[in-house]
Symmetry: C2
Subunit: 218 residues, 2 copies
């Protein structure tokens, strides 16, 4: 079974303040007598489900087309983590335990609380993110990819973007904007495929989680 953890891109999708959302322009139209429908896309890169590459916050860091497939595809764990208000080192330790996976997706109150953030028609500032000591915990335990269930790994109120600097500075790939509401905690195979935008600090991605309940020849 495959779960789609990607948020469909629509013009009305909430975006982080200052971020340009997704807009489609119909430049050819069957309804106007053209032979085909053809659209053009304008998109802030950090809209919806997307990957942050190190270059987003680190001068000279890796850009998104250079992220290794060996990190973006492979075994992954989705954990339910108590974020009160954010994912601290202690909360991560309690949720993940000692066997820390290389790829970790954090399912928080954003997804499981009484008012899931993606259900809101507007951007919600009170979302759960990764506390600075949580970011440090992830780096120290060798996590190579971390994903969160709303639009930033950084607490909205953080005066300085330390979570980004700690994680991206250590070369960790971040997935922001996952929709994990329907994805139970557990072990999966992750398929995180960003569009290869050469030289960009991130890119929209389609993110699938495949259950591992059957033996496959793949």
């Amino acid at each position: 079974m495959i779960y789609d953890a990607t948020v469909p891109l629509r013009p009305e999708l909430p975006t982080y303040p200052g971020e340009r959302g997704a807009r489609l322009e119909l430049v050819k139209a069957l309804a106007r007598g053209d032979k085909a429908d053809v659209r053009e896309l304008t998109l802030g890169i950090h809209t919806g489900t997307h990957v942050d590459a190190p270059a987003h916050f680190i001068a000279g860091g890796k850009t998104v087309e250079a992220l290794p497939l060996e990190v973006l595809v492979g075994p992954c764990r989705v954990v339910d983590v108590e974020a009160a208000p954010h994912c601290t080192a202690a909360a991560l330790e309690a949720a993940v335990g000692r066997d820390v996976p290389e790829r970790l997706l954090l399912r928080t109150r954003n997804s499981t609380g009484p008012a899931p953030v993606w259900a809101s028609p507007q951007f919600e500032t009170g979302f759960a993110a990764i506390a600075h000591d949580g970011a440090q915990w992830l780096v120290e335990r060798g996590v190579k990819l971390v994903g969160v269930d709303y639009l930033s790994i950084e607490p909205f109120e953080a005066p300085e973007p330390l979570t980004h600097r700690i994680l991206l500075g250590a070369g960790v790939v971040a997935i922001e904007g996952l929709d994990l509401r329907a994805v139970p905690a557990g072990a999966y195979r992750l398929h995180c495929l960003p569009i290869p935008l050469v030289g960009a600090e991130g890119a929209p991605a389609r993110v699938l989680l495949e259950t591992r309940w059957r033996l496959r020849f793949w």
Copy 2:
């Protein structure tokens, strides 16, 4: 082992005539004293490696976010096919044989000839595509997804877009703009993940091909 059959998106990538390529605008910059690099993307949807959904040519047809994952992900065959100049029914029959897969990627002279089209800095009009009787052959044999190794499934000189109408009219998913130069013919697992642009007739996609030489628990 995983092959990446996606063309990296750069401003100078050749595009089909009239198609707007990929452009990135740096709206925040570390080098200008901002806390992060942030870019915005403008993209003609049919630039580089992308999926055509039925709505591209069929009024009321399925749009790209509604394409089923069961078609986009799964066993796939890459075949070397003689395209002289295009992939006819006879050429497909000779290349594929009687056991026709649901997902089929066509590797033609575009990739294997003396002057691979993706090696050219400009759009090449003489590319190999799918002849109309080839499209009919694919539909009659139950192919659900077909991929080509340059920017259109349609012969450039076709007076009417019959190949598109035949394939998309039958609900076949088309992948255009694959780079199959380094991908040997054979059996793979396909991972074709388009960005879920709601209501769009297509979308850029990251396309991976995974070899099936080892037993996996996924």
